[in-house]
């Protein structure tokens, strides 16, 4: 594994051009296929988790590249060169794979070198990225759900309680529904002030626990208030076309009156095709928002370090090593940013910050308002409230109950997670058994 790092530099430079050309060619060929694959994945809850995991890996690469660019090394080496020299980062030299291991070709080489067929290793390589994407996606969405689901559930229950009460004219408890709903709205706004940066932190470190580094993440947010406002605005703007797409099926019979009498099979066929192509927009929005958040995060970390608000010890090992390698830690002279940032930075006092925070909250409120308005236009019961494709899982498929059980994918998801947990426990038990046998051989025969 250390061979590539110790390879002579001339070999790297000679191989650079052909590799790039080859990579560009394959990228052109594979990109549409990858896109179609991703569009297919977001048609199911589990598939959308794979997309989330893949996106997190992509964002990690993007943040590393951003830091590398900030370090001023472009003149001396390419990004790929930089990564190739570091075994722990080498896998990021290309965009993340969907299914096979990142350097899948080396697995084949290992087969050739050993002369034997390492079936287990190959099998693992074949599905390594798929498993990794799923694992990271599951961790990512689970963390996101921890913070967002309570608010979304409050929307659901607030809407339910409010309209049930309105229907029965329960004047005496008229405030219950709106109070629940508003609590959810406020909670969601507070969560969303934090969430995008926390998601990126988790993506960059690859550790789910870092999602909950409240002090560190708050520091980063404090160091990029305008950027966070801009990100909220992007979320709100991106949300609009996504919600329009979610609502359009309700108007298909108006667009084409012949569809009014479509039977369930035809409805399913039409909606399958419709939501498949909608995924193009949803995916673009989902990845784009995280890419922007990644850039904000990358800059915020450096700004926070420069100001001394972010201690070296607060960073996780891999992140610290990377920043040290790039000589971004300890403090080094960095660009002070453009004139606008400097002026804004100087003039923003505590009142200014409060205004920006207020504006950011207002923009997140506009995001929530859209959800409520579009729920009125075409109501999607539980899923419509509990999963926002741009925030949580990019699962974008709303079939009416007459066509498919809307909770079916959730049930399948829970079932598969349970199976995975049982298998993992069984594997662990077998492992322990094997270790015990190794430590005390022959115990079993006695």
């Amino acid at each position: 594994m250390s061979e590539p790092a110790s390879a002579p530099p001339e070999r790297t430079s000679r191989a650079r051009l052909p590799l790039r050309v080859r990579w560009s060619f394959w990228r052109i060929v594979l990109l549409p296929l990858q896109l179609l694959w991703a569009m297919l994945l977001v048609q199911s809850l589990i598939g959308s988790l794979v997309v989330v995991g893949w996106t997190y890996r992509l964002i990690r690469r993007s943040v590393i590249k951003r830091w590398w660019a900030q370090s001023g090394r472009q003149s001396g080496e390419t990004f790929v060169d930089f990564l190739s020299a570091r075994p722990d980062l080498k896998s990021h030299s290309r965009w993340p794979n969907w299914i096979v291991e990142q350097d899948f070709s080396s697995s084949w080489k290992e087969v050739d070198d050993s002369g034997r067929w390492p079936g287990g290793r190959l099998l693992k390589s074949l599905f390594h990225s798929l498993g990794l994407n799923l694992k990271l996606g599951l961790q990512a969405v689970a963390n996101t759900w921890v913070l967002t689901l309570p608010a979304c559930a409050l929307w659901l229950f607030g809407w339910h309680a409010g309209w049930i009460n309105s229907f029965t004219k329960g004047y005496e408890s008229a405030s219950v529904g709106p109070l629940i709903g508003w609590s959810g709205v406020l909670l969601f706004i507070v969560v969303m002030m934090y969430l995008p940066m926390a998601q990126i932190r988790q993506a960059v470190t690859g550790e789910w626990r870092t999602f909950y580094q409240f002090t560190l993440i708050s520091t980063l947010i404090r160091h990029s208030p305008l950027q966070c406002l801009g990100l909220a605005l992007l979320y709100s703007l991106t949300s609009f076309p996504v919600l329009v797409l979610k609502t359009i099926p309700g108007y298909l019979p108006q667009i084409n009156p012949a569809l009014t009498d479509a039977d369930p099979a035809r409805v399913r066929e039409i909606l399958n095709g419709y939501f498949f192509w909608c995924a193009l927009v949803v995916l673009a929005g989902f990845v784009f928002l995280r890419w922007v958040a990644g850039r904000i995060y990358a800059s915020a970390v450096l700004r926070a370090r420069r100001s001394g608000d972010l201690e070296r010890s607060q960073l996780v090992g891999s992140e610290r090593r990377l920043l040290e390698d790039l000589e971004l830690i300890p403090l080094r002279a960095l660009s002070r940013g453009n004139w606008l940032r400097r002026v804004v930075g100087q003039t923003l006092g505590s009142v200014g910050r409060l205004i920006v925070v207020g504006l950011t909250a207002a923009v997140w409120f506009s995001f929530v308002v859209q959800i409520f308005v579009f729920q009125f236009l075409t109501y999607q019961s539980g899923i419509g409230w509990l999963n926002q494709p741009l925030v949580q899982a990019p699962w974008f498929r709303y079939l009416p109950a007459s066509v498919a059980n809307p909770w079916g994918p959730v049930i399948v998801f829970v079932f598969l997670i349970l199976i995975a947990l049982v298998l993992r426990a069984a594997w662990g038990w077998l492992d322990r058994l094997r270790v015990q046998e190794r430590l005390s051989p022959g115990t079993g025969s006695r």
Binding site: W159, F167, T168, P253, D263, Y398
Partner: protein, 402 residues
Amino acid sequence: MKASAREAPAIPRRRFLKRLVAGAGAVVGTANLGVLAQPRQRPRYEGPNIIIIRFGGGARRRESIDPAHTFSPYLCHDLVPRGVLFKNMMIDSFQPPKGVDTSHGQGTLYILTGKYVKYRDVEGQFLGQRFEAPVPTVFEYLRKSFDIPDHETLIVNGEDRTAEEFYNFSNHHLFGVNYRSQTLSLFRYKTYLLRRQIDAGLWAGAELEQKQKELETMEAVDYRTSGAPDSREILDFWGRWRSYYGESGLVNPRGDRLLTELAVRALRQLRPKLMMVNYNDCDYVHWGYMSHYTRGISIMDLGIRQIMRAVEADEEYRDNTILVVVPDCGRDSNPFVPVPCQHHFGSRSAHEIFSLLMGPGIARGQVVDHPVDQTQLASTIGALMGFEPAYAEAAPLEEAFL
């Protein structure tokens, strides 16, 4: 068929002709006097009473008159065999269609005026439902034709759609406010109560000023009547309501059950000749719960049963009351969404309604399959009560008459 809906029936029934001639004479006699003129002596009304049930807001045939899927068993199993069911009534089946809206306020006015008009909110408010009919309502035709006091022509309205309280007269220069019907609703009761409380000196100082402003605002909503006081009968009605249900608003029935209660009490106390009950609660389905729709239909069904019991228990109304059940609009049957019941976008299903007519002079146990129009009801009511709705655009439902 579309053309025949607009033409007069080829062979009108004897009763229809008799009443039509009597009513037309009265209308012609007073038509040129205008709203400011003192009405001439009008004949006493001796025809049948009519109760129009607006089966709304917005109900599909499937959950109403389809025996396999109905949530309205009394209507479907008890009343339909006793009357004529127009199971293929449409909103705007004209060819080419007029392109009118399928909604509650609009549908109510199509029923009352017999004319499809593209209505716009008078204040231009988005989704506003404050419409003013340009042609007379059946209440105006009736009161101009016969000597009927306003409290005997009633709209019973719900608490959610205040704008629909004011469909009780048109802007037509030959009819209008002098021939209006009265409205019974919680809004009217609140206005009555607030005035009484102010008159009783319940408040003083700033609080009194605030209450007076509140009252002004409430009374100004009915701006076309220029603050004309309610008749003694209406005031007595609310007085009795107040002594029975109190002032809190927490004792009386709520939602569409309130409309039933108002209608039943009105039958006993105001003795209406023509009354329209604007049920509306099934429209809650807009917010995403199908059960609100089906439950709303069941509550209406119970309401109709209560009203019919009140009618049958009253000697004056029994055998002399015609029931007209008609939705203000249909609802979508959209297979692409979980709750397929909007109605604002002109889908075919939102145009598809039905109507049941039942009572003296109406055929029994008949089901009419061919398409008829919602606007034909105004002419039909005119024919049954003996007035000519001169500005209605469609002919009566001929099959209804014996």
